[in-house]
Amino acid sequence: MENIKDRVLEVITNGNLDYKQKKHHLAYIAENTQAYPEVSDEAMKALDEKVICDLFEGHAPYRPRYILPDYKRALRTGVKYLELDPPTDLDEAINFLSILFIHVPSITGYSVYLGHIDQLLLDYVGDLSEEAIYKKIKLFWRFIDRTLPDAFVHANIGPEDNVIARVILRIERELKQVVPNLTLKYDAEKTSDEFLTEAVKTVFDVAKPHIANHRMTGADFKTHYGVVSCYNSLPEGGGSHTLIRLNLKKFTDTHSGDTDAFFSETLPKYCQMTLDIIEARTKYLVESVKYFETDFLAQEGIIKMDNFSAMFGFYGLAECVNQLMKSDDKDFTYGQNEEANQLGHRILEEMKRIVDARQLPYCEANDGKAFFHSQSGIDIDIEETAGARIPIGEEPDIYSHINTVAPHHHLFNGGISDIFHFDETIKRNPSAVLDIIKGAFKKGMRMFTFNLSDSEFIRITGYLVRRSDLKDFREEGSRYSSTLFGANSMDNADVDKRIAKRVNSYERTASKY
């Protein structure tokens, strides 16, 4: 109890946290006074040692991790709990959504999904001019950034070109806000080159939107889907109860047998433990908390439990492969060598098989299976590369890079990301980016994200910070003299101390108190 009192006092008196951030941390401390949902001692040990990571979701899950409200339905029927009638024009629709967004729970406290925003608003445009729409949405966008200051808050646009999406891209380029994160759903048959070019030019300025392979992703879901948080694709009107990720590096480091033993014993053991934790947390949320019986979103049909599943994530594939190669006395590295790449594919396919073979309760959205997700990393990942990515600084040329990662993208119905970097000369030739995106999708990539090397925005795992916010930190960065990747990770680890504290990502800081 003394310990808890000290932690509470530390939060309350911490001048670097604003009022809402303090409340969030206090809630986290309070939640963690509860016992963890019941799992085996071995699984608990794996959690303590961070071999399995629950991304600081807390001991007593009282809301799903990712909720994707069916905003279209809410707009159509109204929301009784919030005393909102169906809107009749664009002002009312924006006002309706602004209110609803604030009431959507998540782990970070801010809704990770703002909906397929252009499709939602198009019905209310009427005969408004583009300039009139622009003015309204610009205020809406400012409202979102100031009231939902979390880089995981995510909106979707596309695949068709339309006035709302165009206006949003224009506003993004003007306002240069971190929030919301943005994904354009691309479909070769529905998305015009002109629209994709607008999106690419927007990336040049603000490092978003991400470009999603709409046809490929859509085929994985029974209902409409949304891209939320950091490249997580999930069903609309549902979401994911939890996301638990397995640190492939950590348990491979302690694996003592050969590669065969890795596949027959070690890998399945840790996958099952991860699934046990997912199951225990899901049951707690559904059975003990009775979330789906008590929350207004579920009561009013804006979400349905049938549209939920859970997410099985992992990270550190590169280090896992390299370690196994080393154990076999082979100096081959993931991303550079075909044999190492093949081993990577084999590990991913085996994990997918294990995940698909395990029936989980309350995961109807994916027929009782967890969504498989290549997790894009958080600040505490110092030694591990995000998901199945090639380590930063070791990426081969762009075609080899795409040809290495594209063959496994089909496995990840829960989402995957690889980040590509272009020199600023490409700004004069945006159609070159279109060529590469289309080629990447033909090769089977699910998501394409790129940055310019000199962009004002820097992508950290899946979210953005402004370079100017990091400037002071960068100037002191020389005290980190380890490897490039280590240095980058250390940079990342301290990012949240330096960026304007109004915008935060609580999942990464929650454990500090």
Binding site: I398, N429, G439
Partner: protein
């Protein structure tokens, strides 16, 4: 299929600066100009097997293959120090390779999903007019490659009969004008420019001139009269021809031309203003 071969000095599989979209660029060896500011002077000449590079190589990674009249390069021990290129008296390189049309088609097929088209460049690519015709026909008749655009990046220093057989298979030609006055052109490139001016007019008349570029070299082609003549030429060609003024950069030029100076920002701005005064609005890079 054609048995023709050409000397290929290099292939870049992804370029965003050699025409619209992402392009594969094929560089051909040998040039018929000798520009002072050439950044790839090792693509100007052809190897005569003199062996100077073989002697100079610090890692002994080069060997003369007397039988096949070529130089063998052992990539596994090469440190890419470029000593061979620096010592070559012929402005050549031990690295270029003979490739057939089929060889190039295979290379293009590998990256076909990612590109808008191919650009052939040099050296001076038009010295291989017959080979190019075969290559372009093979591309345009290939079921998977036929939609690729084909651009030719040339110095323009060839006769009319070299252009004619290619024109129908090429989407656009990108040419340089190094100087308008023949004397200045001679100083910069070692050759006069009559054929080049004819080529510009011919390709413009055929509607195939895609880009016309001018590299500004202080002390040579930056005087008022010269800039005026270049601007007039740019104004004369079709409006949709992309006009570009390029700042001469010293990076990679031969030591003996170290005396050249790069234009300053204000010089570039001044020239840009001059072009604009003549009604030409070039991209300045």
């Amino acid at each position: 299929m054609s048995e023709l071969q050409a000397n290929i000095s290099g292939i870049i599989k992804s370029s965003v600066i050699d025409g619209p979209g992402n392009r594969m660029v094929i560089f051909f060896q040998a040039c018929n100009l000798n520009c002072m500011y050439c950044h790839n002077s090792h693509t100007i000449g052809l190897c005569n097997l003199c062996g100077i590079c073989v002697q100079a190589c610090p890692t002994q990674s080069l060997k003369i293959d007397e039988l096949n009249k070529r130089i063998i390069h052992n990539e596994s021990i090469c440190r890419h120090c470029d000593t061979c290129l620096k010592v070559c008296p012929e402005n050549s390189s031990p690295f270029y390779k003979k490739m057939s049309v089929d060889d190039l088609i295979s290379e293009i097929l590998e990256v076909n999903d990612f590109i808008s088209g191919i650009t052939v460049s040099g050296g001076e690519v038009m010295l291989h007019s017959e080979f190019l015709r075969h290559l372009f026909i093979s591309i345009k008749e290939h079921p998977e490659l036929k939609n690729l655009s084909v651009l030719v990046d040339s110095n323009g220093n060839v006769d009319q009969q070299d252009w004619e057989p290619l024109i129908d298979f090429v989407d656009g030609f990108m040419l340089d004008i190094k100087a308008y006055s023949s004397g200045i052109h001679q100083k910069i490139t070692g050759f006069s420019n009559e054929r080049i001016l004819n080529s510009i007019h011919l390709l413009n008349a055929k509607g195939k001139l895609k880009e016309l570029r001018f590299v500004l070299v202080p002390g040579y082609n930056d005087n008022v009269d010269e800039v005026k003549k270049i601007a007039s030429l740019m104004k004369f060609v079709a409006q949709d021809v992309k006009k570009v003024v390029i700042k001469m950069r010293k990076h990679g030029i031969r030591q003996e031309y170290g005396f050249l100076s790069e234009p300053t920002s204000s010089e570039m701005q001044h020239v840009k203003n001059s072009f604009e005064a003549y009604g030409v609005h070039p991209l300045v890079i």
